[in-house]
Symmetry: C2
């Protein structure tokens, strides 16, 4: 693998990496952007694992190449590696917060909910979410799910796409490793989880059960709602609910933090960590 | 209180609110920016409480005024309220992510560590931090500290300033309510906490004690380190250390999430929540 120097930001070979900040809003055709060394390493692992994720091109700031030789060797030699000076790099990316390490990846369509659920082991823990609209929160939820061993993340169709650049970055690449599906309504999702034998616990400041009192279960689904309103009442009234003890106050915890606290507890209760 | 219309972004009456995005980097003279309805409400409460925080001016997008009449009535009538159209508002602020609600506040110098510690009750829990460089993490740590009833946040001098706009926003105003000090080295901070009878627990992926096995103590300090490297070895070897159980992997939890999980646990252990 010999890096190819790019001197023209309009070079068609790096067209997929042009103006990727805007690409946040338009991710299409299964392409995604991996940013930074840690995510690049996860991309290499995902590519090798052959689970429908592939690297297509790597773009490095010229001064980053020497430090990344080992990591680059983890990619097949057919993946092109481009290098650019800082001005050219910034002109390509359209911003300068990229840490000098970018890659274009391609992902097969996310699995259908049925397929994903059907492939889960008898003992499993999943995170279910509805209406998550913030990419930072989405990325952070994936990072937490990976840390505490969630087998999958299942989202309703109103949740944002975890494959956006910023969500992948905040997840430190966990979006590439934690299986997920995103389809349908939260009502349909809850029904599907119940049919598959999951004990479903909705997280809410008004939850009935203290988080640490959740009963162990071979299959547990933790369900969290949107940043502002939380889970809809129609859902909360149809499942068991848990609360995180906290001081009374106007504002509850951030949804990603609450998810981290709850997954940690549920994983301990079920002996997963 | 009658709102005053601003038509010229260069109007000297709103000079303190000009280009506040850049002000992130240059917060000076004790001024700070409150953004959004929730933070404005916290500012009103802090102003009324008279603990060294004052509102100086409020700037609203014209279509937000009607919905905020009650909140504005919480401020003294002497605080000027300005309104502007969207183009003028954006030209003043220098960006358009302000949600149409901005205020300029002023804070007396943060208390000295000695003063703050000297004023804490016999039974107290504090969060101590060193080298936190990211304003999102800082804001999130304040939000978590408020949620779980920490009496104060104590930072070393290398941590970033919690009074920056984005940290205040992410904290949903908790920076204005949770007492904090930021001075000296982490070594000095640990020494001071020990002298004041705090059981100090350093949070680290290599911690010796499982988080949930931390012993209750009338005074507990949870100490967390920088995003990248965590706590320095010299500190970890001089105090007791705790770890959050998680799956083995390259990347540990985000520092703010880890802080949330740990504060939740320590607050439960000590009967604070």
């Amino acid at each position: 693998m010999t890096p190819v120097r790019i001197d023209d930001p309009a070079d068609p070979r790096i067209a997929g990496l042009v103006s990727i900040k805007e690409r946040d809003l338009t991710g299409r055709h299964g392409r995604f952007i991996a940013e930074g060394t840690v995510v690049l390493r996860m991309l290499a692992a995902a590519h090798r694992a052959g689970r429908g994720i592939e690297a297509e091109a790597i773009l490095l700031l010229e001064n980053r190449v020497d430090g990344l030789v080992d990591l680059l060797a983890d990619f097949p030699a057919t993946i092109p590696v481009y290098v650019a000076s800082a001005p050219v790099f910034d002109a390509i990316a359209g911003f300068n917060m990229h840490r000098g390490v970018l890659a274009l990846g391609k992902r097969d369509s996310a699995p259908r909910l049925d397929t994903l659920l059907g492939g889960l082991p008898a003992k499993s823990m999943v995170l279910a979410a509805c209406g998550i609209s913030n990419h930072d929160n989405m990325g952070s939820m994936f990072r937490n799910a990976a840390a505490f061993g969630a087998d999958a993340i299942l989202m309703d169709e109103t949740s944002c796409d975890p494959m956006y650049r910023k969500a992948i970055r905040v997840s430190v690449g966990s979006v590439l490793t934690v299986p997920f599906a995103r389809e349908g309504s939260v009502t349909a999702l809850v029904g599907r989880l119940q049919a598959d034998g999951f004990a479903i616990w909705g997280l809410s400041p008004r939850g009935q059960t203290d988080l640490q009192d959740i009963a162990p279960s071979p299959r547990t689904a933790l369900l969290v709602g949107t940043e502002g309103e939380g889970l809809p009442e129609t859902i909360l009234s149809s499942i068991r609910t848990a609360r995180i003890r906290q001081r009374p106050g106007l504002d509850s915890l951030n949804v990603a933090t609450a998810t981290g606290i709850a997954l940690h507890q549920v994983a301990m209760i079920n002996g997963l960590i």
